[in-house]
Symmetry: C3
Subunit: 158 residues, 3 copies
């Protein structure tokens, strides 16, 4: 339903799903909607800086962050990734087709005022500190997401 | 909420998720709802013809379509597929249990007037031409989906 | 939209997605919402008893249930599972971070009155009998889910 607001939970850290999420978000924002994207679990990898300050992490907590992709440029696709080759192909075809790249979509989302919020609990579990993620985020709990969803007419889990 | 309308984004091209999507769609249509299914990315494979006219495609653009499954009969399941064996087993058990096959569900959806719309941008990225997909689709952009979602009370991303 | 009711379709049987589903469900219940979780396909594995009565099953029907994880303790994570090691790591880090385990979240959901309903058709396809699942469930068809979703303002597919 149209309430002028939409929310997306971005759980997945796959390039293809991230692109879908940001196309929906920027499309809705272009139509005048307020959009909130709640990044949780693997979806946080989309927001990682390629080069982040080093942190001394507890061993277990540091293992996920050490092995997960550092930022949007390193994401794989959910099918036919072939060790990153599929992701590169998808990026190339998108450029040929004059489709915005994930990074351009992310920049466009921010210019249009899409609100990006990061799940604090997932950050703790995956061992990601605030300064390892891109700037301008809010760090929140599930209650904040639920409050936004209660105002929105379209809510998706991606 | 009940607005008499529901939408489904079908992003996944897995047999099990496709079945779930069409069971929800046909169930809602049987209860009198207007249903729109928006096929994007791998979900487009559900709509491919098994035998389609050949197209001369740019090399990169043709690579995805050459490697992706051609139509509903060739989809794998998302877990325990074992090179297609799992999908065959699931089809067999469904027949034993008198559950409609994916193809029967798709036919039923169309008879009941479920609207099938295909994401034009994804078709371009994956190298799929209109005549490679089943007939009777509309080819649209994300704005069309968003317009439908704004009228619907239940919107899912599958 | 806030109608005081939310529904979640739990299609996935991955530990990480199950945790996300129950965090959303218990969070919403804590805020006073009525919550219904509809378990279908692999999501049913979350509800399996670790030790269930043996059933004589038709060969094909028994194959899925024989190979699928028996209950919440045996679920893998959707990324970096490494044969169960990833799931164990995630559980350990969650305990260190004082996040509730999946089993605690499930108990909390039930205490708060979250309604758990299981898809009868999926049970038949995957060969799961009622007494192989935890107690207190309702066994329903898609029409029951759709009726609940029609009353809910937030509906997610996980």
């Amino acid at each position: 339903m149209d309430t002028g607001k939409k929310t997306l939970i971005v759980f997945s850290g796959d390039l293809d799903r991230a692109i879908a999420a940001f196309i929906i978000a920027t499309g809705a924002a272009a139509m005048g909607d307020e959009v909130t994207m709640f990044f949780t679990f693997w979806g946080l990898n989309i927001l990682r800086k390629a080069k982040a300050p080093r942190h001394h992490k507890a061993m277990l907590q540091g293992m996920f962050s050490a092995m997960m992709p550092r930022g949007s440029q390193r994401l794989g696709i959910s099918k036919m990734n072939f060790g990153g080759l599929g992701a590169r192909m998808m990026r190339l075809v998108m450029r040929q087709q004059h489709v915005m790249s994930l990074e351009e979509l992310m920049a466009s989302a921010r210019e249009q005022g899409v609100k990006l919020i990061a799940c604090r609990m997932s950050m703790d579990v995956l061992g990601l500190a605030e300064d390892e993620l891109i700037d301008g985020l809010e760090y929140v709990g599930v209650a904040t997401y639920l409050g936004e969803a209660d105002k929105a007419g379209v809510n998706l889990f991606i």
